[in-house]
């Protein structure tokens, strides 16, 4: 009797030990997970923190690694000193990005609709080619582009940069918007057709409003891509249409880079991105609520 009781208690103790060891293991995994996340966050956030801090440092603090310094707005007022021509470059970037988006969106909507709903020869192949253009490294084609635009006399013009940006942005926009158009029930469009709408009417009254979250998302991403575009902006502009992203290079002087001005300009470049990130978030949730009606 006692032997049996003893055996039972031994077994119970072993079970408890097993359970606690399992719990310990789980706790360890959780801590490890957190550590990895923190590490990743540090790696990703460090450059941003550095940029923000440097932007508010006075020149003599820049090379000092400290969290404690006298913050100053001097760099921002210096950046806008006419000799750096930053105001002009901001306008250039706005003109290039906004024009690109305004031209790209209607084209992308038409193309996406065609790829989604219409039947035409080579449809699949063409759709894949559009994606393939995205795989070509920009550096490999930037020189031919340079030569081409020089021949056309378009170097250092808005037209050149907008054309190039359209080529960069359109495949992405078409793919994104097509995904949203695919999700619209065909029945909704057919209902409009029977109600008397023609193709363009269907597109404007039904497809565009229903794909609105996708179109807005694509538009915002396209804006961000053109806003941040550097390589083509650097090679195809001289002085008239230098975009803001390229403007940073202007702070690399003979005596070396002026880090505090580069950082301040970096913040100016980044500000619109924050607003867009918030807009995208809001639109995505709205888009999900809208849904389709069965």
């Amino acid at each position: 009797m006692t032997v049996i009781a003893h055996q039972a208690s031994v077994a119970a103790a072993a079970a408890i030990r097993r359970r606690t060891s399992r719990q310990r293991k789980r706790a360890f995994l959780r801590v490890a997970e957190q550590l990895v996340l923190v590490l990743l966050a540090v790696i990703i956030l460090f450059p941003i923190v550095w940029m923000v801090m440097t932007a508010f440092k006075s020149p003599r603090d820049v090379y000092v690694y400290t969290m404690w310094f006298q913050p100053t707005l001097e760099n921002f007022s210096e950046v806008f000193n006419p000799r750096w021509r930053i105001r002009e470059k901001i306008i250039n970037s706005i003109v290039i990005s906004v024009t690109t988006v305004i031209i790209a969106m209607p084209i992308a909507v038409f193309a996406a609709y065609a790829f989604s709903r219409l039947a035409f020869p080579m449809k699949r192949a063409m759709f894949q080619w559009i994606l393939l253009t995205q795989f070509i490294p920009a550096v490999t084609i930037v020189l031919p582009f340079y030569v081409m635009f020089r021949q056309l006399g378009l170097l250092d013009t808005y037209a050149a940069l907008i054309i190039v940006d359209l080529a960069i942005v359109l495949p992405y926009a078409i793919w994104t918007i097509k995904g949203f158009i695919d999700a619209i029930p065909l029945e909704t469009e057919e209902a409009a057709i029977v109600d008397g709408a023609g193709r363009f009417r269907v597109l404007w009254d039904i497809v565009v409003p229903m794909a609105r979250p996708g179109i807005l998302t694509a538009a915002i991403f396209c804006f961000i891509i053109t806003w941040n575009e550097f390589l083509f902006g650097y090679l195809l502009s001289r002085q008239n249409v230098v975009p803001l992203s390229v403007g940073i290079v202007g702070f690399v002087l003979e005596r070396g880079p002026v880090w505090e001005l580069i950082a301040a300009t970096g913040i100016i470049i980044t500000i619109p991105m924050f607003f867009f990130a918030m807009m995208i978030q809001r639109h995505f949730t709205k888009g999900m609520n809208l849904g389709a009606v069965r």
């Binding site: 029930p185 029945e187 057709i193 109600d195 008397g196 229903m210 849904g291 389709a292």
Partner: protein
């Protein structure tokens, strides 16, 4: 207002034949139901009238117009879709008014007509809502109101009730019938539900494999089926079909003989009798005795299924009739209430 005429209309996709050489005249003001299993070509037929599908051959006429080359808008038809096809980003009012807006009517006129259409289907209080905020039945009403707001020449309805729950379906069915009576607009209605077909139709066209099997009034379809397909498709539970042979006016099948079936002699026939024409009696007093396989109460009657030589035969009995599974019962039916079919051609043999 106008009738619809199909002249040798066909629809093929590659080798697949959706609709084969269809000849059909839908009379003005008629409620024609296209009935059949899925894939029988009924929806394709309807979509060709709407202009959503182009016929591979033949002509479609609406009233005095050959519409093959007309846009859906020029055809002036309205359609109610299975999933309603509402515009989720528009209010109910804008949904209903959309066909009018496209036709360029004035704002005041649109408001007046939308109000009238909404009143017909009792949607008045919901005009400012979005379709997503409505129940299934209300969405269905929006789709209806949108189709009747402009008084089209032809109504097309593609399984409009199939997404509703059973109770609501019965209510909406009556509403549809009433609306058709009130508006007197030619209607083509697609369904696979025989109850809907029987209750709504002026005439039913039973389709299978892209061909009309029988075109007739509901009572004719039910009481005088043209072939085995129609006989088996219409009726619930479906008609009892027994394979056997006919010898001198007597039908012989495993486990039973029925005399008085005409006077001919032929092999390979199928004898059909509806469950409501089969009577359950005391043992020894019927055509044959058989054990009860299943006994089901339906409320207004009971269903008794018996097994004869491995085949089941269903009978509808009085609602007060009771028996147990395994009981032996007698089964009787009147030769005059049976249907004879050729088992090779599936065609009805008229006696």
């Amino acid at each position: 207002m106008a009738g619809v005429q199909f002249k040798r209309v066909s629809k093929r996709w590659g080798d697949f034949v959706g609709v084969r050489d269809l000849d059909l005249i839908v009379e003005d003001k008629e409620f024609l139901v296209l009935l059949g299993p899925s894939g029988c070509g009924k929806t394709t037929t309807m979509r060709m009238v709407a202009g959503l599908e182009e016929p591979s051959g033949g002509e479609i006429w609406i009233g005095e117009d050959m519409v093959n080359d007309m846009t859906p808008r020029e055809r002036d038809v309205a359609m109610v879709f299975q999933n309603y096809g509402l515009y989720p980003h528009m209010s109910v009012r804008d949904n209903i008014g959309y066909p009018l807006k496209i036709r360029g009517l004035s704002k005041a006129e649109i408001i007046r007509m939308v109000d009238a259409a909404a009143a017909k289907v009792e949607l008045g209080p919901y005009l400012d809502r979005k379709p997503g905020q409505l129940s299934g039945g209300q969405r269905q009403r929006v789709a209806l109101a949108r189709s009747l707001v402009r008084t089209p020449r032809v109504f097309l309805m593609d399984e409009p009730l199939s997404n509703l729950d059973a109770k609501l379906r019965v209510v909406m069915r009556a509403e549809l019938k009433h609306l058709h009576h009130e508006l007197q607009i030619t209607t083509i209605y697609v369904t696979h539900d025989q109850m809907e077909a029987m209750t709504l139709a002026t005439r039913i066209a039973v389709m299978n494999h892209g061909v009309i099997q029988q075109l007739a009034a509901p009572e004719v379809i039910y009481n005088d089926p043209a072939n085995l397909f129609v006989a088996g498709f219409i009726g619930s539970p479906s008609m009892n079909l027994m394979s056997g042979k006919l010898a001198d006016g007597t039908f012989h099948a495993a486990g039973l003989t029925v005399s008085g079936i005409g006077g001919g002699t032929r092999d390979n026939v199928v004898l059909g009798v509806r469950p409501e024409d089969v009577t359950v009696t005391a043992t020894g007093s019927g055509l044959f005795d058989a054990p009860v396989y299943a006994f089901e109460l339906t409320g207004e009657s009971v269903l008794v299924t018996v097994t004869v030589a491995g085949k089941q035969i269903a009978a509808r009995a009085d609602r007060h009739f009771r028996c147990q599974i395994g009981d032996n019962v007698g089964v009787r039916f009147d030769a005059a209430r049976t249907y004879l079919f050729d088992a090779t051609t599936d065609e009805r043999i008229r006696l």
